[in-house]
């Protein structure tokens, strides 16, 4: 599978600053692309555009040659948000959060170090790192073809970071999921990615 971004432009308000202008990028499903840029350069915006949360002002986003909007229902490109606290409903137990994903396998849940006991808790009873594992597991459903990781381990300690990335790398390689990892950290991206892209200020 191939994810193509062709001449995409985006700005949040009509007369506001252009976040992206004529941006092009192609990601193969075998690739792991690192995206690096300082704050405010449009990393998260790009991820939201790629996973369909936002629509580009200009240009198009193609998945296997078909426009992204033509994929009804489950979106093959799943994004893991930077703030796990906002990404789960505070009134649902974690078991239900996992069920929202597309038949998430037990192997993934175990691999991310999610403990049985956590499943019966509410989001407010878990730490940010523990919540983020649930968000990653939820995004790794059966039909996921590309995973966008928007600074998913920024708030975690180094041991947990390495545990999560170790598992993620195994998983995406095994299933042939394309990975787009966003981070401030050059060393991390050098470790996990096959190539890196730097966003430029518009």
């Amino acid at each position: 599978m191939k994810l193509e971004i062709k001449n995409v432009s985006y700005q949040y308000t009509k007369d506001g600053r252009k976040i992206l202008e004529d941006f092009c990028l192609t990601v193969e499903h075998t690739e792991r692309v690192g995206l690096i840029a300082p704050s405010g350069y449009g990393k998260t915006t790009l991820c939201k555009l790629l996973s369909g949360y936002l629509l580009p002002d200009k240009g198009e986003i193609l998945v296997d040659g078909h426009p992204l909007a033509s994929y009804q229902g489950y979106c093959p490109i799943q994004m893991v948000w930077q703030q796990p606290e906002l990404a789960v409903n505070p009134r649902l137990r974690m078991r239900e959060v996992l069920l929202e994903g597309d038949e998430v396998e037990e192997r993934i849940v175990r691999g991310l170090g999610i403990e049985e006991d956590w499943l019966n808790r509410f989001p407010s009873e878990l730490s940010g790192g523990e919540l983020q594992r649930f968000c990653i597991a939820r995004a790794l459903g059966k039909r996921t073809k590309f995973l966008l990781a928007d600074e998913i381990t920024t708030m975690l300690d180094l041991i947990t970071q390495s545990q999560i990335w170790h598992f993620l790398l195994q998983e995406v390689q095994k299933r042939g999921i394309g990975l787009l990892a966003v981070s401030h950290s050059q060393p991390l991206l050098e470790q996990i990615c096959t190539r890196q892209v730097r966003l430029e200020k518009q």
Binding site: G73, Y74, L86, E100
Partner: protein, 273 residues
Amino acid sequence: MRLNRRQRVLIGLGVSLLFLAAVCAAGILSGEAAMATDFSRKNTAPCVKYLFGTDWLGRDMLARTLKGLSLSILIGLLAAAVSAVLALVLGIVSATMGKAVDAAVTFCIDLVMGVPHILLLLLISVALGKGLRGVIVGVALTHWPSLARLIRAEVIQLKESPYIQIAEKLGKSKWYIARKHLLPHLLPQFVVGLVLLFPHAILHESSITFLGFGLSTEQPAIGIVLSEAMKYLVTGEWWLALFPGLLLVIVVILFYVAGESLQKLMNPGSVHE
């Protein structure tokens, strides 16, 4: 024994619900007694046998008050339930069905809120031929806007939350999102709104009945009891108005207590206090 806030709230809720249930039960049981006339005991001041005294037809005022209150509570429950469901549906529809629908519903909310409750209530009640039906429909149609506005605002805010956007991208249907994500957030608001509508509904029902636009005089509604009592106040029969009025106020206060207690209980933050 020291009680924490949650326990005190639970006790308050329990006591008020128990009292309201007792009033309803007593009212249903004293149906016959409320209508029975006996001229040998007319205009008796409150005494041990007739706690609330008797009226000019010798009817037991305690039975009449309880019967009237239970009727009021019934009407209040029905009207508030209809009103709250109306508010829930219109609130959600307004927030999710696009701009035109939103504008229409918001206009209706402003319209109904702009006209004084009691005036609109009188018009609807009279148009429907007074009686039980008129009162219930009238109260139901005038009390939904504030709750609808609250729910609309809540849904609009919820719609923007990341976890609902994520659910959409995970291919979840609108129905799934409404059931799993919207309702659990709206339910506490809805239940509290519903309970806090009761006292309003009861007060408005009594007022329009008192003014003569509500229930017919054969039914011992609390408004009828009070409005009849007015004529006898000048002749010194103070108990005819005092006790029914007092009990009406107590019932309304208890509904408020129940509503406020529920609100405190349903706020997840209060668990740890």
